[in-house]
C-alpha cells in the first residue's frame, strides 16, 4: 500500500476519532436534549433557552443577505409562520451567527430595523457573533430550523421545507417541515421526518 498518504491520513483519522469521542463537533440530534445557550437579543437583553422552559421553542438561523432567506421573507412565508406560532404561545427565536464583517452580520439596531421593514414576528432576535451557539447546534445554513419541545428535547432539525431552491414559486409546492412537525407534535404523533438536510447559504462563522 502506498505509505506516504496512508500514514498521514491514518493519523488524521485517529485524531478525528478522538475528537468525536470527546463529543466535540457532535451534532445534536432529535430525541436529545437541546443545548442551553445564553445570548443577547437585539435590544441588548440577555436571553437563555432555559428561560422558556415549558414552552415550545422554534430556532430559525438567518442571514438577511442570503438568497434562500430572501426567498422565505420576500414571499411572506417566514413572517406567516412566525405570526401563526407566536400567537399560539410558541417562542420563535431568530438567531444570527454571522461573524463581524461577514455577510449577514448586523447590530441590534439593524436587526430591529430589518424586523420592522420585513414585518417579521419573531419573539426575539438573538445575536451570536462568536458562533458558539450555532456550532453547539451544528447549524450549517440559513435558514436552518430547530424545534424544541416544552421538556427541552429537540424534536426537529433541518430544512424549512422540501424544495431546496431559492425560487419563491417553489414554496407552495413544497412540504413545510416546520408545519409538519408542529402538527404531529400537537397530535402527540411521532415526528415523521425529525431530521432533514438543511438548505440555504452556509453560515458565515
Amino acid at each position: 500500500m502506498k505509505t506516504r498518504k496512508h500514514n498521514l491520513l491514518t493519523l488524521c483519522t485517529s485524531a478525528a476519532a478522538l475528537l468525536f469521542s470527546l463529543g466535540v463537533n457532535a451534532m445534536v440530534k432529535p430525541g436529545e436534549n437541546a443545548p442551553d445557550f445564553t445570548l443577547k437579543d437585539s435590544a441588548g437583553e440577555t436571553r437563555s433557552l432555559s428561560d422558556f422552559e415549558g414552552k415550545t421553542v422554534i430556532l430559525e438561523w438567518t442571514n438577511h443577505e442570503c438568497p434562500f432567506v430572501q426567498k422565505h421573507y420576500g414571499s411572506g412565508n417566514m413572517q406567516q409562520l412566525q405570526s401563526a406560532y407566536t400567537e399560539d404561545e410558541v417562542v420563535w427565536l431568530s438567531v444570527i451567527s454571522s461573524a463581524p464583517g461577514k455577510q449577514g452580520y448586523v447590530s441590534g439596531e439593524e436587526a430591529d430595523a430589518l424586523t420592522d421593514s420585513r414585518n417579521a414576528k419573531p419573539s426575539f432576535v438573538l445575536l451570536d457573533p462568536s458562533g458558539d451557539t450555532g456550532r453547539a447546534y451544528d447549524a450549517k445554513t440559513t435558514p436552518h430550523m430547530y424545534i424544541i419541545d416544552g421538556e427541552g428535547v429537540l424534536q426537529y432539525a433541518g430544512a424549512i421545507d422540501s424544495i431546496p431552491t431559492a425560487n419563491p414559486a417553489d414554496i407552495e409546492k413544497a412540504t413545510n417541515y416546520v408545519n409538519q412537525a408542529m402538527t404531529e407534535l400537537a397530535s402527540t404523533a411521532p415526528v415523521s421526518e425529525p431530521l432533514t438536510r438543511p438548505y440555504g447559504c452556509s453560515i458565515k462563522y
Binding site: 502506498k2 498518504k5 491520513l9 483519522t13 451534532m27 425560487n167 431530521l195 458565515k204
Partner: protein
C-alpha cells in the same frame, strides 16, 4: 388618392426587394455560422448553449450542452453538491420527434468552503446530453430550448437562471453532419468518468461509516499520486469529515462517515473515482450493512 396608391405600391415593391436582400443575407449568415449557440451573462457566471451540429437529419443523433463559465474564484455544483449547495438543473423543451438522454456530468473537484465541503466545478464546465431525432420528422427546422437554474458561489451564493434556445435547419445533405465531436464537446467527453472494469467491488456500512474496497482489472492505481472518491447519490456520506483512503496496484480502500441525513442505505452506490485530477472512472457497487 392615386398618389397614395402609387406610393403604397412603390413601398410594397421596395419592401419586397429589401426582404429579398435580407433573406439572402440571413441565409448566408446561417450557412457560414460556426456551431450554433446562444449565450447569457448572469451575476458571476456566463452560460452558453452549444450544439454539436449545424443542422439535423431524421434518424440521427447529436449533442446539445450548456457551458458554464464561473467568474474566477466562483464555482457551481456537481450532481451531488456535497454538504450544502444546489446542483444546476436543466429543463429541455424539444420539438416533437426529438428525445434527449440524461445529462452526462464531467467529474467534479472537492471544494472546501469555510467549515463545509462541496463538490463541483471552478473551471469552465459543460453539461451535455445526447439527443435522437425520429426517422419520420419532416419539419424544416427544429427548436431546442433549455431553462437552466443554478447556484454559483464563492463564499456567498447567488442563484441564477437563463432560458436559451437554438434552432437547427434540416440538413440538405446528410454528409453535412459531422461524425467527429469538436470543442467544446470534445473536452466535455474527455472529462466524463469511464466505466471501471473490476474483479471485485463492495461497499459495507459499519459503525457509522461506509467502506468501499475494490480490485480493478488493471493496475489503475499503480502510478497514482492522488485518488479521490465521490458518490453520485446525495446524503449517503458526508464530505466534511476526514476520509481514509489507500491504494496500490489495482486495489483501492476508502472509508467515509455516513451522512446524518441518510435515511435507509441504498442497495447500491455509484462511485466516481478521480485519479490525479486528470482521469475519472465510475463503478456501481452493491452495499451491505453489518447485521
Amino acid at each position: 388618392m392615386s398618389t397614395f396608391t402609387h406610393t403604397h405600391t412603390g413601398l410594397t415593391a421596395r419592401l419586397h426587394r429589401w426582404l429579398g436582400i435580407a433573406a439572402g443575407l440571413a441565409s448566408l449568415c446561417l450557412s457560414s455560422s460556426p456551431l450554433a449557440e446562444t449565450r447569457a451573462s448572469a451575476p458571476h457566471i456566463d452560460v452558453a448553449l452549444h450544439h454539436s451540429q449545424d443542422s439535423f437529419a431524421p434518424g440521427t443523433s447529436g449533442y446539445i450542452g450548456l457551458q458554464f463559465k464561473p467568474e474566477p474564484g466562483w464555482h457551481i455544483y456537481w450532481k451531488n453538491p456535497g454538504d450544502t449547495g444546489l446542483e444546476p438543473r436543466l429543463n429541455w423543451t424539444l420539438a416533437e420527434g426529438v428525445t434527449i438522454e440524461d445529462i452526462a456530468w464531467p467529474y467534479p473537484e472537492r471544494i472546501p468552503v469555510a467549515h463545509l465541503t462541496n463538490l463541483g466545478y471552478h473551471e469552465e464546465v459543460m453539461l451535455a446530453a445526447r439527443y435522437h431525432i425520429d426517422d419520420d420528422v419532416d419539419a424544416q427546422h427544429l427548436n431546442f430550448s433549455v431553462q437552466a437554474d443554478w447556484l454559483v458561489c464563492e463564499e456567498s451564493c447567488v442563484p441564477g437562471s437563463a432560458q436559451l434556445s437554438i434552432q437547427l435547419p434540416r440538413a440538405t445533405d446528410t454528409t453535412d453532419l459531422s461524425p467527429v465531436l469538436d470543442e467544446p464537446f470534445a473536452s466535455w467527453q474527455a472529462a466524463l468518468p469511464q466505466p471501471m472494469p473490476v474483479l471485485a467491488a463492495k461497499a459495507h456500512a459499519r459503525q457509522g461509516q461506509l467502506e468501499i474496497e475494490l480490485f480493478a482489472q488493471s493496475l489503475l492505481f499503480q502510478q497514482a499520486e492522488q485518488v479521490e472518491v465521490f458518490l453520485e447519490e446525495k446524503d449517503v456520506v458526508t464530505y466534511d469529515a476526514p476520509e481514509f483512503i489507500a491504494w496500490a496496484k489495482n486495489r483501492l480502500v476508502w472509508r467515509q462517515p455516513l451522512s446524518p441525513y441518510l435515511g435507509t442505505l441504498p442497495p447500491k452506490v455509484r462511485a466516481v473515482i478521480v485519479i490525479d485530477e486528470r482521469r475519472a472512472y465510475h463503478i456501481d457497487i452493491p452495499v451491505t450493512s453489518a447485521s
